[in-house]
């Protein structure tokens, strides 16, 4: 036992030396998660705001100006241009300078003053469906609000009191993420993806490197067992992955205001198990890949893509085809995404998350054992 620990310690010590002397890798594993988080969080945000909006006001009355101000006042639309003809909308959409156009017909002010229902046209660039859908919804909502306030002011001008009239108004409340801010929703999930990228990618090449250096044979003539080599190699990367986890969590909380509602202990345990599972997966790749290039590509294919697309991070798991749902079950990222979101947003604990924690633990164990077995079979061939 003592001899075994000595050998594991020697490997861990050596791996740290490799890492500390390889400035580029070191920078990559510490800085990449931060850069990835910032990039992903800003780029992948599904929120829509400041949509460039063009206004074509054929009416040019105080009423129409006031209507346009309602758009300007919302954070959702941003009036970037005023046009004179409809042709300019085409040009602006083509040039991507505007994605929404509000066209106010002549006579708008008169119609409203007469107490009739005025019409405006809202044109939306549909080439980006997500923003288009949201733009449409916002625009409708905005018009309703404006409509109500105009109705009230019209009623007031006519000396009517509408407050007594009963009106049914739905009160919709979104739980956990009241602003439905997608960044808050994404960051806990991104944590899982970033851990997966760092750990799988880095460990995927580690055993291949021993083979390429020829040092594998020297290790084969030593009494060191394969699992000792693997555990020795896992330890430094576990530490690095943990540093990354902490970095991502702190950044998420400080910069993006992600709330941490649950107990950090559950999150730490989940992260540890997920790190081990990912490292095990990396070792597995390393054990079977013939070259570092292949190992890298395999790592990308089986770590990055599934943890991004099949973890529930980008697409809700219950909305993807059933076959893909099954496939997502064999990649550990989905369990981690569930754990991270549960702890961060819902304040979940062991009581709710034990199935995911248990699955990750089993996953990690199986990965390392299978990797050790396959690695041994590959050597001495």
């Amino acid at each position: 036992m003592k001899a075994s620990l000595t050998r594991i310690g020697a490997v861990t010590n050596k791996e740290f030396k490799h890492l500390l002397r390889d400035v580029r890798t070191l920078a990559a594993v510490v800085l990449l998660p931060v850069i990835q988080l910032l990039l992903f969080a800003y780029a992948i945000s599904f929120d829509v705001d400041n949509v460039p909006t063009m206004v074509i006001d054929y009416d040019k009355t105080p009423a129409s100006s006031e209507y346009v101000r309602a758009y300007d006042a919302s954070t959702f639309f941003k009036v970037v241009a005023h046009g004179d003809t409809l042709n300019q909308v085409d040009t602006a959409f083509d040039a991507n300078t505007a994605r929404v156009a509000v066209v106010i017909p002549a006579g708008f002010g008169e119609t409203i003053a007469a107490g009739d229902k005025a019409q405006v046209a809202v044109l939306i660039d549909g080439s980006e469906p997500n923003s288009a859908k949201i733009s449409q919804a916002y625009s409708v909502a905005l018009n309703q609000l404006y409509d109500q306030s105009m109705t009230k002011s019209w009623a007031a001008s006519q000396g009517l009191d509408l407050s007594g009239i009963g009106a049914l108004e739905p009160r919709v409340r979104t739980w956990y993420n009241p602003e439905r801010n997608s960044t808050i929703f994404l960051i806990p999930g991104l944590m899982a993806v970033i851990i997966a990228i760092v750990t799988v990618q880095q460990t995927a090449v580690t055993l291949v490197r021993e083979r390429a250096l020829g040092t594998e044979e020297q290790l084969l003539v030593s009494p060191m067992r394969r699992t000792e080599l693997m555990v020795g190699k896992l330890l430094p990367w576990t530490l690095i992955a943990f540093i990354d986890v902490v970095l991502v969590i702190l950044l998420g909380m400080a910069v993006f205001g992600v709330p941490l509602r649950g107990t950090p202990l559950v999150l730490a345990l989940g992260s540890a198990l997920f790190v081990f599972a990912s490292l095990g997966m990396g070792l597995l790749i390393s054990a079977v890949a013939p070259s570092a290039e292949t190992a890298n590509i395999m790592a990308l294919m089986i770590a990055f893509l599934p943890s991004f697309l099949l973890s529930g991070l980008a697409f809700p798991l219950d909305q993807i085809p059933v076959v893909l749902q099954w496939i997502s079950g064999i990649f550990p990222a989905r369990y981690m995404v569930t754990i991270a979101r549960g702890v961060f947003l819902k304040g979940s604990g062991f009581a709710e998350l034990w199935p995911e924690l248990l699955t990750l633990a089993g996953y990690a164990l199986v990965m390392v054992l299978v990797a050790a077995r396959l690695y041994g079979r590959k050597a001495r061939a």
Partner: protein, 320 residues
């Protein structure tokens, strides 16, 4: 060093066989290496030297046959074999980003050498090999000869009884090669057994026993003297102004077994009955006034060239 019961050979292999795809690297090979020998495995690239050494070093599993090191099977008793062997692979196989001292430290630690022994052995090995001042240099910044010495030092850290060295001097400059063999000679004096593969025929003379491998089989084996004795006749060197023309003329003469160019000289293996110097001068006389003939010692290069050309019929037949 562990004591070795008398009469136990260091290596005993029977019927070793290994194929890589359609290529038979080692074919039904027997090998016996006595304890304390410096056993040279000679042969061209692809002869099977590395495959043979790697099987004995336990890093490659044979397809068939068995091998024992100090009486322990290399396949079933690896744990008893590896502590007693030091294996140096043909390729440089140390960590390039670790220093000389760190490489020694790491490999000795995983091989179970205690801390006190590690430090004292590393110190004395580096000193005896002239590497002491480079202890803190990263392995990737060492010269070719120093890299080989580092590998040998690493191989010796756990004080093995048997050294398996796969072409340790290939690609190393002549001075470093001599230096390397000086170290091997001192290991021999300490009583260690050495199995060393080399493509250099001149290194065969430094071995106590040699085997010549070709296409997966041992073609010749014995002491260097025994093997030299298998070449009949005498070796002569002919210097002339036009060596190529001289070579053509020499081959036609009676009594000449074979001849080949050796630099600017023509080397002639003489198996005739007459005095070769007189016969050659007489036979070549008149064509070249600058012609001189002198006797030369038979070297391993000539021996193996002769033995390869005159390979026993059975060996030649099965080797193809």
């Amino acid at each position: 060093m562990q004591s070795t019961s008398p009469g136990t050979s260091a290596i005993s292999a029977r019927g070793l066989h290994k194929s890589f795809g359609a290529t038979e690297a080692v074919i039904d090979l027997d090998l016996d290496v006595a304890t304390g020998a410096v056993y040279g495995l000679l042969g061209p690239d692809g002869a099977g030297k590395s495959t043979l050494i790697r099987m004995i070093a336990t890093v490659l599993a044979p397809d068939a046959g068995a091998a024992e090191v100090f009486g322990h099977s290399v396949t079933d008793q690896r744990g008893k074999v590896t502590p007693r062997i030091g294996y140096m692979s043909q390729r440089f196989s140390m960590y390039p980003d670790l220093s000389v001292a760190e490489n020694l430290e790491f490999f000795a630690t995983v091989r179970g050498v205690g801390r006190a022994d590690r430090n004292s052995r590393a110190k004395s090995l580096l000193e005896s090999m002239g590497l002491a001042e480079f202890a803190d240099r990263q392995a990737q910044h060492l010269s070719g000869g120093m890299k080989q010495k580092l590998m040998l030092a690493s191989t010796l850290m756990h004080s093995p009884d048997l050294l398996l060295l796969d072409e340790p001097t290939t690609g190393v400059d002549p001075v470093s090669r001599r230096e390397f063999w000086r170290i091997l000679a001192s290991l021999h004096r300490e009583g260690r057994t050495v199995l060393v593969a080399t493509p250099y025929m001149d290194e065969a003379e430094r071995c106590t026993h040699i085997a010549f491998l070709d296409r997966g089989r041992i073609r010749q084996s014995g002491t260097p003297e025994q093997i030299k004795a298998r070449v009949p006749g005498r070796l002569l060197e002919v210097a002339s102004a036009e060596p190529r023309r001289t070579l053509a003329a020499v081959i036609a003469l009676p009594g000449v077994d074979s001849a080949h160019l050796f630099g600017d000289l023509v080397r002639v293996l003489w198996t005739g009955a007459a005095d070769p110097i007189e016969a050659l001068i007489a036979g070549l006389g008149g064509t070249d006034a600058s012609l001189t003939v002198r006797a030369a010692n038979i070297d391993m290069e000539t021996v193996f060239a002769y033995l390869a050309e005159n390979a026993p019929a059975d060996a030649a037949a099965v080797g193809s």
